[in-house]
Every structure is written in structure tokens, then in C-alpha cells.
């Protein structure tokens, strides 16, 4: 109640579609929406692990189910959002933290580049672990 008395500034109501008006706003909201797909993929991977634990038949059935058009469509969209998350996260890291090496500030491009090296190493390791 006291807030209504103290705060007399007029605020123009903002439409909930504000983010469709500008490309950068749109990318921002898409980036934020990647959270839904990260959560979905965690759930999907959990079910995958469960199927592996249940045995060969359950594993084969899960792979068949995962090839159904609906799941493929969802996972294609989810994968695109994951890539958006990775690219935007790497881009923002130099702004979120300052890295110093021997007293010198490491340039943003170097931080971004080294994260892609990290991505390559992690991806190669997991592919090796799963496929060997």
C-alpha cells in the first residue's frame, strides 16, 4: 500500500510481445527459452540411461521410440537451442569475468576461442568413451 503512495512515476504498460519488435530482443528471449530444452534433454538422457540399465531389449526399444517423427522433431529443435545456448554462453563469458594472466588481461576473443577448444576436447572424449 505504501508503495502506491511513494511511487508516483507513470509506467507505460509493456506488451508481453515486446521481444518480437527487435532482432536482438528476439535472440535474447530465444536464448532464455533454451532452458526448457536443456531440461527436456536432461530428462531424455535420464530415460536413455534407464533403458540401458534395463537391458538389451529395452535399449533397442528406446532407440526405436526415439526415431519416431515426434521425438525426432522435438530433439532437432532441442539440439538447435542447445547450440544457441553454447554459442551465446561462450560469447558472454568474457563480459561476465575478467581473466588475468601474468598481470595482463586476457582478451575476450582468446577466452571465447579457448572455450571452443574445451568444447572440442569434451566432445572428442565423450565420443571416444561411448564409441570405442
Amino acid at each position: 500500500m505504501s508503495r502506491a503512495v511513494d511511487d508516483l512515476t507513470y509506467r507505460r504498460p509493456v506488451s508481453i510481445w515486446w521481444w518480437t519488435r527487435k532482432r536482438s530482443y528476439f535472440v535474447f528471449v530465444m536464448r532464455e527459452l533454451s532452458s526448457i530444452f536443456i531440461a527436456w534433454l536432461v530428462l531424455y538422457l535420464l530415460l536413455f540411461v534407464r533403458a540401458v540399465g534395463q537391458g538389451r531389449t529395452a535399449y533397442d526399444d528406446f532407440l526405436d521410440a526415439a526415431a519416431s517423427p515426434w521425438l525426432v522433431a522435438i530433439n532437432v529443435v532441442a539440439f538447435a537451442f542447445v547450440l544457441l545456448h553454447t554459442a551465446t554462453w561462450f560469447l558472454l563469458t568474457p563480459q561476465a569475468m575478467v581473466v588475468r594472466l601474468r598481470g595482463r588481461r586476457v582478451p575476450g576473443l582468446v577466452i571465447i576461442g579457448s572455450q571452443y577448444v574445451g568444447l572440442a576436447v569434451v566432445s572428442a572424449f565423450i565420443a571416444w568413451l561411448v564409441l570405442r
Partner: protein
């Protein structure tokens, strides 16, 4: 004059402020984990293996990898961090994007879903090892 009294901070508010930095820390850790690990995991397990782009690994090999205690620990830690990350980010999407007004309720629902997911992860991963 009596109207100039400085209100005492409410206990709920102060405890929330103590937790907030920890949530941001988990958000960042989950964001890094998702950025580094999710592309390859999603590509292999959600697209390449089901669609036959790459021959899916032999069941015995995958069961051995999944059954290893280190795999359990790593996967559980990664999944929980990514769930907290997603919950935290989605919470702010609801505040800013959709301008949802019930902020307390939104926070409880988002982190509650992450906690339920962590519980499910513990049981599903534990059952497979």
C-alpha cells in the same frame, strides 16, 4: 514523525538474499556444463544413434560405461547443475518475458521442479548402475 520509522528487514527477505548468490553460482556452473557437454550428448544420443547416422554402441559396452560408479557421480552432478540452471533461467523468463506477477510462486515452482528432477535423476541413475 512516527511515519519515518525504518522498517526492519523481514526474515524471509534476508534469508532469500543469502541463498540468491548460491543459486547464481549453480546457474553459472550448470550453464558451463550444458554449453560444454550438451551438444555432443544431444547429438549422439538424441539424433545420431536413433536415426542411424552413427551405428549405436553395443549394449554391453554402454551398460558397462553407465554402470561405472564414476559415471553415476559425474552424470548426477551434471544433471542436477543443468536442472538448477534451467530452473533459474526459466524463472527469469517468466518474470521478464511473460511478466508473470506471482514471483514467489514462480520461484517455488521452478526450483521445486528442479528438485523433483534431481530426485528422479538419483533414482533413475541409481537404478541403472
Amino acid at each position: 514523525m512516527s511515519s519515518l520509522r525504518i522498517p526492519r528487514p523481514r526474515p524471509a527477505l534476508t534469508s532469500k538474499r543469502r541463498i540468491e548468490p548460491l543459486v547464481w553460482l549453480a546457474f553459472s556452473a550448470g550453464g558451463v556444463t550444458a554449453a560444454l557437454f550438451m551438444p555432443v550428448l544431444a547429438f549422439l544420443f538424441a539424433l545420431a544413434f536413433p536415426l542411424g547416422w552413427i551405428d549405436p554402441p553395443d549394449h554391453d559396452h554402454l551398460a558397462a560405461v553407465v554402470g561405472h560408479p564414476v559415471t553415476f557421480l559425474v552424470l548426477f552432478g551434471m544433471f542436477v547443475l543443468m536442472l538448477v540452471h534451467a530452473a533459474h533461467r526459466f524463472r527469469y523468463t517468466l518474470y521478464d518475458g511473460l511478466q508473470v506477477k506471482h514471483q514467489g510462486l514462480v520461484a517455488v515452482l521452478c526450483y521445486g521442479a528442479a528438485a523433483a528432477g534431481a530426485f528422479a535423476a538419483f533414482h533413475l541413475l541409481g537404478g541403472a548402475t
